[in-house]
């Protein structure tokens, strides 16, 4: 154990206890100091790990303890020296108040009570905070600037938690708790404040869709506001695609009402930085832990910010007003990375797609040209071919004519060769016909032969060589020759009888 350190811690405890008018063990028990001296905590986590040091104690003394352990405790050491050194000369009132105020600055704390009086002046708000149990009262003041940033309108009877440090006002010697921050106590009060502010901002049109700006495509410079500790920033950085983002990071508290100041100053910082988009992220929490994001000043800062703002704040039932007013609201830090990655991923796909389309088009163009070429060649080929085809056809038809001609010739030949037979046959036929005719004529001649008639008794009368067939050929006294079968005789016409 570092006894030197332990001694320093004990000295500090004595001073602190004196200043606060309490017993030293109320500050820290011996055991706790011994543990501190042994473990030499370097930061809040290590200090908080020591038994007997909780949030309240840390808020009150944490910084001082760490300063002593880390050997840079100027104020604590100097103050103890100040008191321990035998004082020869008395303090002037002013110097002593300065001394006290230096000490009191170390008594930073969070105190809870009920507002029992309010006096609002130009630059400062004077009020008093009353203990709910025993009616103890402490005078308080808050700078107007802090009051407005804080966004809570004080009312008498309102239960609040103040954060600040006491201070003695030299002209009056009056001690006041200088609050830098005030927060409402209890879900009910918070919810009420949330609803009121939401209604007010909504009426102003701050949440309107048309106010919202587009998140730019391919954002590169990103302003990031969140807490340095915790998983959120890690998740964010892990899920953010590697697209050459340039992230400018502002660490800010994000828990409870105390975060407002950090958040606002971070936003102010980014307002004159060259960024494409501002990102505010925080993991999920209750209405109470998300108080800062329902702060009017913060909400207005976001609304007036000169670049698009994306809020990724996890929340329960009530959407933080900061998210409502942001240009883009998602419910987790990881979802913010999706928003940021989106246009980049699309760009990557677009490149691939364009590549395919581009080469596709060109290949089409080439193959179209090739087709045209092929077609032309084919056409030419066909044209040439048709010339030969005509020849071929002419040749064919010529060949066909030759064949038909030769057929015709052989036909004629055949015909010619048949003629003799035909002639002979006709001759034979004609001859036989003639023969027949002759025979039949002969038979007829035989039938009609005058000799035959004469034999039958008929006779032929001739006169002057002609055969007499009519009486008109005769005249009386005319001599006629009459032929009978076995000879002729002469006769004279004696009478003529005409019928």
């Amino acid at each position: 154990m570092n006894s030197d350190l332990l001694q320093k811690l004990k000295d500090w405890r004595r001073n602190t206890a004196n200043l606060q008018g309490i017993e030293p063990f109320r500050v820290f028990a011996n055991k706790v100091l011994e543990n501190i001296a042994e473990l030499k905590p370097k930061n809040k986590e290590e200090l908080m790990a020591i038994k007997g040091i909780r949030d309240k104690k840390f808020a009150k003394y944490g910084e001082e303890i760490l300063a002593i352990v880390n050997g840079s405790s100027n104020s604590a050491e100097s103050s103890s020296d100040f008191l321990d050194t035998p004082v020869e000369k008395p303090f002037s009132v002013s110097t002593y108040i300065d001394f006290l105020n230096r000490q009191l600055a170390n008594c930073r704390a969070r105190i809870q009570g009920e507002i029992s009086s309010i006096d609002i002046k130009d630059r400062v708000i004077y009020f008093s905070l009353k203990d709910s149990d025993d009616a103890s009262v402490i005078n308080c003041l808050m700078w107007k600037r802090d009051y407005e940033l804080n966004g809570i309108e004080f009312e008498i009877g309102m239960e609040v938690i103040l954060e600040g440090a006491p201070d003695i006002y030299k002209p009056s010697g009056r001690l006041s708790f200088k609050a830098s921050m005030a927060e409402l106590v209890g879900e009910g009060a918070l919810k009420k404040a949330y609803d009121q502010l939401k209604k007010k901002l909504d009426a102003e049109g701050l949440f309107l869709e048309e106010r919202k700006r587009e998140i730019p495509d391919l954002p590169q410079k990103i302003g990031l506001i969140t807490s340095e500790t915790g998983a959120v920033i890690h998740d964010f950085l892990t899920n953010l695609g590697k697209y050459g983002f340039h992230i400018t990071f502002m660490d800010s508290r994000v828990e409870g009402h105390a975060a407002v100041r950090d958040l606002v100053s971070a936003i102010e910082y980014f307002s004159n930085q060259s960024i494409d988009v501002l990102v505010i992220i925080r993991g999920g929490g209750s209405l109470e832990s998300l108080q800062a994001f329902n702060n009017e000043t913060l909400v207005r800062k976001i609304a007036d910010f000169n670049k698009p703002v994306i809020c990724g704040i996890g929340h329960e039932k009530d959407v933080p007003l900061a998210s409502l007013v942001a240009d883009r609201m998602v419910s987790t830090p990881t979802a913010v990375t999706h928003v940021l990655n989106k246009s980049w991923q699309e760009a990557v796909q677009q490149i691939e797609l364009n590549k395919e389309r581009l080469f596709g088009y060109f290949e089409d163009a080439i193959s179209n040209n090739r087709n045209t070429l092929d077609n032309s060649f084919h056409t030419i080929e066909e044209a040439f071919g048709s010339i030969f085809e005509n020849f071929r056809q002419a040749k064919e038809s010529l060949k066909r004519s030759f064949i038909s001609l030769s057929l015709r010739i052989s036909e004629i030949k055949r015909g010619v060769s048949q003629y003799p037979n035909i002639f002979i046959a006709s001759m034979v036929r004609a001859l036989s016909q003639i023969k027949q005719k002759i025979l039949s004529t002969e038979r007829l001649m035989l039938t009609y032969s005058p000799e035959k008639q004469l034999k039958l008794g008929y006779s032929i009368v001739r006169s002057c060589g002609a055969i007499v067939k009519k009486v008109s050929q005769l005249h009386i006294g005319q001599s006629v020759d009459i032929v009978v079968a076995d000879g002729s005789f002469e006769s004279e016409v004696k009478n003529i009888h005409k019928k």
Binding site: W143, D217, L218, E228, L237, L240, K242, Y243, G244, F245, H246, I247, T248, F249, M250, D251, S252, S265, A266, Y269, W344, A347, V348, Q350, I351, N354, K355, R357, L358, F359, Y361, F362, D364, A365, I366, N368, N369
Partner: protein, 76 residues
Amino acid sequence: MVDKKFNLKESLRKLNEIVNWFEKQEEVDIEIGLEKIKEGAKLVKDCKTRLSEVENEFEKVREELKEESEEKEENW
């Protein structure tokens, strides 16, 4: 390494233009098309190279601001 001045957004726009050019042509002039495709291929390559070489940069600025705001508080 792609030129420092290389602008991805601009290159994507050019690439799109080339694709649109091809889209609009009823009959692609092969000579011009070849020029375009050469340019397009280079753009695709450059874009991909640019995308493959990027890493996120991270810069923390809290401290700077703290000092600044402390100065301010002093002045109150």
